[in-house]
Amino acid sequence: MYDSLGSLTSAFGVPGHEGEIRKAILSNGQFEYHEVDNFGNLYCHNKAGEGAPTVLLDAHMDEIGFIVKHIDADGMIYLNPMGGIDPRCMIGNRLMVRGSEDIVGIVCNTPPHLSTEGKVPDIGDLPLDTGLTKRELEEIIYIGAPVGFLGKLMRLSGTKVSSKGLDNRAGCLVLCELSKTLAANCNVTYLFSTQEEVGTRGVEVALKTMDPDLALCVDVTQGNMHFIKSPITRELGSGTIIGTGPNIHPKIFGSLVEHAKKENIPFSTKAYPKATPTNLRTIQLSGGGVPSGLLAIPLKYMHTPTEVIDINDITSTISLIRAFIDDVDDVIQEGFTFY
């Protein structure tokens, strides 16, 4: 699983530029066939046959990134963020600009010999330095070229790993692993959606052509950090997190909890008092309404180049979805109406 996760996290895939991650997913999962729509969404199918219920498993495959806003006379590149990014995690880090060739730059910083006390700069004011001149750059990249974080997956002590893009390549790995082992009792569509980080746009389009009996969304959520521990953060390694709230169908939540207990899968629940900050906010409202559930993997330092997760939480998430889907016929037969 470490190797798969490594190949998924290192693939480039900022919103609107998900081609490379799409390929990585196809080489890591086991699917009967797949389709790609106009929006770049990747639909992978494993069919059980006519009459079997259809389950949608969604994980967004895009990662936060930037686009080139401006190149100044000295060849410094200025950026616009795609997704929420804290400038403090960028200074001194390397970013990759994708043009006719990939160019690696360093986000400018001042040497300590000359450092002055100041405030945190705005992202738009941080220069990205590739060492190339404006003229050289203009032959390789264009205004609007996509820019992403760099770096391979790094194994930390125990079962923890760090990389860029674990949000939400961890979720993509869950789906890829499930595609190899799920029993064929229902039709499963694995949706790897685009442009979540800029407002769940991929699923908005994807769900127009789908009518699943139920949907599960797999994403990451905030882990406990020494900076911040709050009722909404969870300890890494404490298991999968089952979401509950108006965005989640109570029957699906109930069944997930029941299966986690029955199978002794480590888990906790998390209350979302409004629409969750995941694709599920959009999936639930599609068509005539889709009964939905949310599984989340705790992650430290979200939206930075050094996100951290515990691989055991991925395993727990996979186990729980597998157990849930094994009995999914029962849930669907009971129905989702509220009377």
Partner: protein, 328 residues
């Protein structure tokens, strides 16, 4: 340079750099020895007069582990490091290295005011995952940065001063036939400490320090302050915080550049300090000068240099040696 950049060696932990250099130069010099603080000396002595000392420091800036709380480590900087660079950075901890990251709080869980505040270094931790038995208090921590080269530019960690080490190695293995004493010093970043001992241990007539220094062609700096800059050739120091370089020696270096069409530039006076600060005060006073390569973002996880600058620096040192050996 690729290997030298990725080898780990903060001040006081230069062993791996030293072993690498010994391996590169053995067979190319007449004597190799070390002293009690860890400086590495090599001498070429064909004509019996190794009176010119060439210096580069082996250590790099980094951190030391000061406390362990499960998988979270507190740390102190070794050398001058701007803490603003640290959130979101990868590091290697310990002698049998364990990878770790310095985290940054997620923006989602902070309000606008909190996000505008810099994170004090006391509130940063190195996150190594789970508890690791391999880590002890005092363990060295280095940046974890892959070296890359493309389009005449290179990027990597520790260019200050592995560029100097690289230059000295090349001079030993394929430089001009001038007898020199080459010294790879320790603990420069901890306050020019290795060179103090080296100065006491040597009896030389001239000292030339080879450095990777900063580049000031950075946005936000007035044009007139931008000296030195990357791409404009080797950098000659007139004066920094630690030394006023010897005028005759400096002129010989400038002449060597002029005679051989090597571009050069001066370093902004009174910024930074180098081993020359100790060496020029050693013995009865040793005429000293500094020749550097201008690198962007030294003392950070990743610096940048132009390959042509590194080559021209080597050429200038080489031609200067020939000039000095003729007598000043």
């Amino acid at each position: 340079m690729s290997k030298l950049s990725e080898i780990r060696g903060i001040s006081g932990h230069e062993g791996d750099v030293r072993s690498f250099i010994i391996n590169e130069i053995k067979g190319h010099c007449d004597d190799i020895w070390t002293d009690s603080i860890g400086n590495l000396y090599a001498r070429t002595n064909k004509n019996g007069k190794s009176n010119i000392g060439l210096f580069a420091h082996m250590d790099e800036v980094g951190f030391m582990v000061t406390g362990i709380d499960g998988g979270l480590l507190t740390f102190s900087a070794v050398g001058g490091i701007n803490p603003d660079l640290l959130p979101g950075t990868r590091v290697l901890v310990g002698n049998d290295p364990v990878p770790g990251v310095i985290g940054c709080p997620p923006m989602h869980l902070q309000n606008k005011e909190e996000r505008k505040r810099k994170i004090p270094i006391d509130n940063m931790r190195i996150d190594v995952g789970d508890v690791s038995d391999a880590i002890e208090i005092g363990d060295p921590v280095t940046f974890y940065t892959k070296y890359i080269e493309k389009r005449g530019l290179c990027q990597g960690k520790a260019f200050d001063d592995r560029i100097g080490c690289d230059n000295l190695i090349s001079l030993i293995t394929s430089g001009p036939d001038v007898d020199c004493t080459y010294v790879f010093t320790v603990q420069e970043e901890a306050g020019l400490r290795g060179s103090k001992v080296a100065g006491n241990n040597l009896d030389i007539d001239y000292a030339i320090v080879c450095e990777g220094t900063f580049s000031l062609d950075q946005p936000g700096l007035p044009r007139e302050d931008r000296m030195p800059v990357m791409g404009k050739g080797p950098v000659i120091t007139i004066a920094d915080r630690s030394v006023i370089t010897d005028a005759k020696l400096r002129q010989a270096i400038v002449d060597a550049a002029g005679c051989n069409d090597i571009p050069y530039q001066y370093k902004r006076p009174f910024a930074g300090g180098t081993d020359a600060g100790m060496l020029h005060l050693s013995g009865r006073g040793v005429p000293s000068c500094v020749i550097s390569t201008s690198c962007r973002y030294i003392h950070s996880p990743c610096s940048m240099a132009k390959i042509v600058d590194i080559e021209n620096t080597r050429k200038l040192i080489s031609e200067s040696l020939l000039k000095i050996s003729e007598g000043l």
